[in-house]
Amino acid sequence: MNKDKIFKLAKGFRGRAKNCIRIARERVEKALQYSYRDRRNKKRDMRSLWIERINAGTRLHGVNYGNFMHGLMKENIQLNRKVLSELSIHEPYSFKGLVDISRNAFPGNKLAVKDGSSIAV
């Protein structure tokens, strides 16, 4: 009963942790604790990944993330970071439009030259 459930959850574990009940029980408990914690961490990690991507995308156009978001807040554009990061990957021209809006709203950066094209691989 419980043993079968534990072994079912312990699939893919390393060494004796997938075969011997005493070790598997400990490891499965730990795994469930980690998954509880990481369900909350995932939200933080994903947001930080979106912010990194938006930062990379805006720096291709000469604006950094902080000034970009400030400009968007000023213009009351309520797109969230998830959508913005998707736009920066898949819709580069729309993203450039957003960057221009932000640059007009907040006189941020007029970096002289940027390298290469703005469309990444």
């Binding site: 990944l49 720096r59 990061s85 920066s88 002289a112 390298d115 290469g116």
Partner: protein
Amino acid sequence: MAVATQAFKGNLKKALAGLRRIDLEGLRWRVFDAKGQVLGRLASQIATVIQGKDKPTYAPHQEDGDMCIVLNAKDVSVTGRKMTNKFYRWHTGYIGHLRERSLKDQLVKDPTEVVRKAVLRMLPRNKLRDDRDRKLRIFAGSEHPFVDRPLEPYVMPPRKVREMRPRARRALIRAQIKAEQGSAGPIVKKKK
């Protein structure tokens, strides 16, 4: 051009080493010119490019940075007295055998190691670090055997140089005046 590239046959093997292990060839080849650049600031930009953090498709679990070629590594500059006072230290494992070597000696011995150490120590210490190391090619001079690839020169962002501190500025002015005195004539000028 062909004669020059064949001139360093020894480095050719090192330059092309492990090129087959890098999977994606949708990468760009960025060329950094280290002539006159400050060491740490250059290394920070290289580390950003090598990690792929300037692309919107950055993902922390996969390695998607561009290939970086660094030229003129022997002409990299440092501020302050680091040329004589910056030491690279390592311990050989035997008791009491802490070795050190100054920047000047390291540049004489192997100039590429200076830039390589600087960049590697700026990368995150994870499993992708070795792959990123493989993408970095450093050359002491300005010749490199990758002339048939589509290369893109990297433009460093403009740097804000801090204004000199008053004492250092006065010392600089005094040194200038001394140089003028030596070349022009014995006209004594007191500058405060």
